[in-house]
């Protein structure tokens, strides 16, 4: 059963095409990730799906409701965490939650109970009567996530939910995303963080220049670029990465104190690394062979230049 459906969605802003004829479905109970670089069209897509922006063309459905034709019914089903913190900073944490409860038509007794339970769950109950402007970014984000859950949403839209948060908040929110999904809530997540998408999502769509360039399970996407396996190596002494550009190495990337050598044939590169170590007297500390990561898929699929639009955009 589908939770979200986008059919040929297109959005133009003053002659600029932000979203270009995208279609996809998100199944009920799924965690779906929308990945893409800045300006790819992720936030515009989420704004269309949540009824904030009308599409220039195409249709979007939340459950069985067309967001354009039945916006109130469609919005009633979803909770939203927009990209930027947007709780009312001059209201207390509790009042923010109660306001959202009222906007979703939840009865007074139920909304007070629900708000208090959520504040406890997110560890901010003791500060429930403090204005949100006194909260840290992580605490604000917890309040915003709690606001999105006030209506027992069946579908949760999370637009970059952990950007700029402290480690504790990130772990808490990641844990809760998994927990809510376990209760059958469908989660639509946009993120820059590929590792986050890799760990959380059942399926991901990669977006670039307004188009969806790939959509599949993370594991399947990785398999599509098996040719870019890599060898990760750390030496005892620091060295010039240019010295590691052996025959068969496509590129060398420095990652902390390690080097990742991208190659189609790791088995040919390993002896060359060992030989390099022996000749230079620089001992190898660690050596691992790696398959392609989701990041590799992302980089490969989003490195292209913007497609030339025949409609003149």
């Amino acid at each position: 059963m589908r939770a979200i459906q986008a059919k040929n969605l297109t959005k133009d802003f003053n002659g600029l095409r932000a979203v270009d004829n995208i279609s996809f479905e998100v199944r009920m109970g799924e965690i779906f990730g929308l990945l893409g670089p800045n300006g790819a069209g992720k936030t515009t897509t989420i704004r269309i799906l949540t009824g904030v922006l009308p599409p220039t063309r195409g249709k979007a459905y939340i459950g069985k409701h067309n967001i354009q034709k039945n916006p109130i019914e469609a919005k009633q089903l979803m909770g939203i965490v927009p990209e930027m913190a947007n709780a009312y900073i001059d209201l207390s944490a509790l009042r923010n939650l109660l306001l959202i409860g009222e906007l979703y038509g939840i009865e007074k007794e139920k909304r007070i109970k629900k708000a208090e339970n959520l504040l406890k769950l997110f560890g901010v109950y003791k500060k429930r009567n403090q204005k949100v402007k006194t909260f840290s970014k992580g605490m604000k984000q917890r309040i915003i996530l709690a606001m999105a859950l006030m209506n027992d949403s069946k579908i949760l839209f999370l637009d970059e939910p952990i950007v700029g948060l402290d480690v504790e908040s990130v772990r808490l929110i990641r844990g809760l995303i998994g927990k809510f999904n376990g209760k059958g809530i469908t989660i639509f997540l946009t993120t820059h963080n590929i590792e986050e998408a890799n760990q959380l999502c059942d399926r991901v769509a990669i977006m670039n220049y307004g188009k969806i360039v790939a959509i599949d399970r993370p594991e399947n996407l990785r398999r599509t670029i098996q040719s870019t396996a890599s060898v990760e190596v750390a030496f005892k002494e620091t060295l010039d990465p240019n010295g590691l550009k052996f025959e068969g190495v496509i590129r060398v990337k420095k990652i902390g104190d390690k080097f990742r050598l991208y190659t189609e044939k790791p088995e040919d590169v390993i002896p060359l690394l060992v030989q390099h170590s022996r000749l230079s007297g620089n001992k190898i500390i660690t050596l691992n062979t790696l398959g392609p990561s989701l990041e590799d898929v992302f980089v490969k699929l989003t490195k292209d230049k913007p497609p030339i639009n025949k409609e003149g955009f």
Partner: protein, 246 residues
Amino acid sequence: MNIFEQLKRSFAITKKDLFIYYFKGPIIIQGLLIPAFLFIAFSFKRNMPLGFLMPGLLGMALFFAVSAITPVIAPWETRMKTFERLVSSPISLWAIILGDIVASVLFGLFITSFILLFSVILLGAGAINFSLILGTIIAAFCFSALGTLISAPPVDNPSNIMLLATLIKFPLIFISGVFIPVAEMGGFKILSYFSPLTYFVDLARHSIQRVSYFTSFVDLIVLFGFAILLFIVSIKWHEKSLAKRF
């Protein structure tokens, strides 16, 4: 979605506005001080009867009180990203605008209640009647709807809208019979017909001074017409500009 459910949700917006924007000392003081200063500046050393001055003061107090905050709510909330939160909630745009209007109406009535009380103390209980009370409520809605209309351009900088509001509000004060009765405005009289403030001041003048340019019925009907027109135009304009806000 039924209309009563939307009205309930609209009242949540009203409560939110009252907490955030209106229940603040500086706002209440400003609502009383601006019309009071204008009033004193105009009447200072001019021998005018209190009965003539009170309708003008009442008109200015109501006009400034209800249109002080409504123009800045939309740009301010656009900037703070809270407007996006409201728009993505299951509440219609008209209900959001109505909630903003009702909050400023309540604030305006609170402020003008001081002026009305002042009028009763100085001029006697006969100074206010049912038409004036009804007219005050309709006019408050009307001026507030004008405020929301002013806030419709899709900007996120409240100072831009404040400038626009000032450019619209202050000229209205001078063409609405606040300081000079409509009958004495000569060639400018025609301009006064296009200002809703004219009809409220005229209604107050009829109640307090027993003289007026229009009948109370005409004043009430025209005020009601302006209120509906400004509310509808405000909704339509906000609907049109909504997509450009984000």
